[in-house]
Amino acid sequence: MRRPFLNILLPLGTGLLMVACWYAVRHALSEDLKFLLPTPDEIWAALQANSESLSRATLNTSKGAVLGFVLAVVVSFGLALILSLSHLIRASLYPYLMILQMMPIIVIAPILVLWVGAGLNSVVIITFLICFFPLVVNTTQGLISTDRNLVELFRMYRATRWQETFWLRVPAALPYFFTGLRIAAVLAPIGALVGDYTAGSSAGDGGGLGFQAIIYSSQAKYSALFATAAVTCILGFVFAGAVNILSWLALSKWHDSYHRTDN
């Protein structure tokens, strides 16, 4: 706050440093490995050259990512509420949630494809599967970490289970919830991408970024492949940015993570 210019300079500086490293690594690579690490300008060129197919793919993947993410948030929230009810319920259900998370996509993909069809549906479900676990675990931990004194206050006033949950445990769990959200935001685009290349479909408008990635990879178009990755990252930044804004709105007024020193 006191040095606002640092707020811009430092991130910018690290950014430039990274780019410099990038060029340095590339320079250090032996001539015949250079193709593996295209330079930012090559990637930029590939981005423009493939802008049409990439933007179509981005749109498809974004759809999958957004829907899968939203589904994961909603479902995980509901699950966390149930899990937070008691130790017993956690012991009974956690293992199955873990199994859901641990089922290799390679096992799930064929079932999904045959069941809901390749394409958006499958991509959404895979994104969901990849995002939901960090959300469940964080939200549950948040819900069960509520300050005991506050819980007693609510018990005292015979708050209904509903009130205790939504007026007390949920707000108190927000810092945990947003931590989970921050993780899921980054997993959503990558989940959609994975979903796309394990159960996507090129039917209709031609698949998403995962599809493109595989094609570019098999065709040795590395600049285009990195351009695909770059688009994925940008998608992730958009998600993460949205989560940060929400987190700021929900926590900045009262949570210590936004107030390290007083002034």
């Binding site: 506050l150 006033y157 708050a159 009130q163 007026w167 707000p171």
Partner: protein, 254 residues
Amino acid sequence: MPVPPIVAFNHVVKRYGDGPVVIDGIDLTAAPGDFISLIGPSGCGKSTLLRLIAGLSPLTGGSLTVDGRTPEDAAAELAFVFQEPTLLPWLTVAHNIEVAQQLRGVSAADRATARRRAVELVRLHGRDSAYPRQLSGGQKMRVSLARALTLEPKILLLDEPFGALDEMTREHLNEELLDIREKQAWTAFFVTHSVAEAVFLSNRIIVMSANPGRIHREVRVDFPYPRTEATRLSRPYHDLVAEVSGLLRSVENT
């Protein structure tokens, strides 16, 4: 008059987990309208006693009825000012005060009226939109007090509500408390370390001894209500304060 007691302890014993006995063989009945002060050394089990009444902690032995029911069932009749402010950090002062009423389903308009009155009472005007982390220690306790007072309960449990307040504010709130009592006619259990305060407010003072927590002696305070500044200056008042202080000293020296 054989009115049924509103709170009745019967050989109550309490220990936390497998720790030592904290409260041992408490027998105590409160009639409706009693204002009972609990005084005793730190750690003798005063807060624990209130928590038992509120149904926040299970008894280890004996029995306890509140308003003729189990403490759990009677909780709707209670208001409790905890020893710590226990505010929700994400709510402003105004919302923190209203939250108890909200839990009881009071309408927004009535809540706002009650809240404004309570804010006035605890002298926190103008701080309605502050968050707990922006308040001083005494201000937080006053918010907590205001929250309980909006409830108009049958039984009021107060755990050192004025410990963090200056004498003036304290006296002001003492008088306000008695005033409200006239209107709302609750039964109060009041933990305090100020003997003077206990004598001024209550009709019964329970002096507790520690290790394990027991009732050492009960002192009746027969000054008529309403009590005023004049009561504080009266001779019998001073004598009683001295007597209770003496009792307390004797308890702690054993």
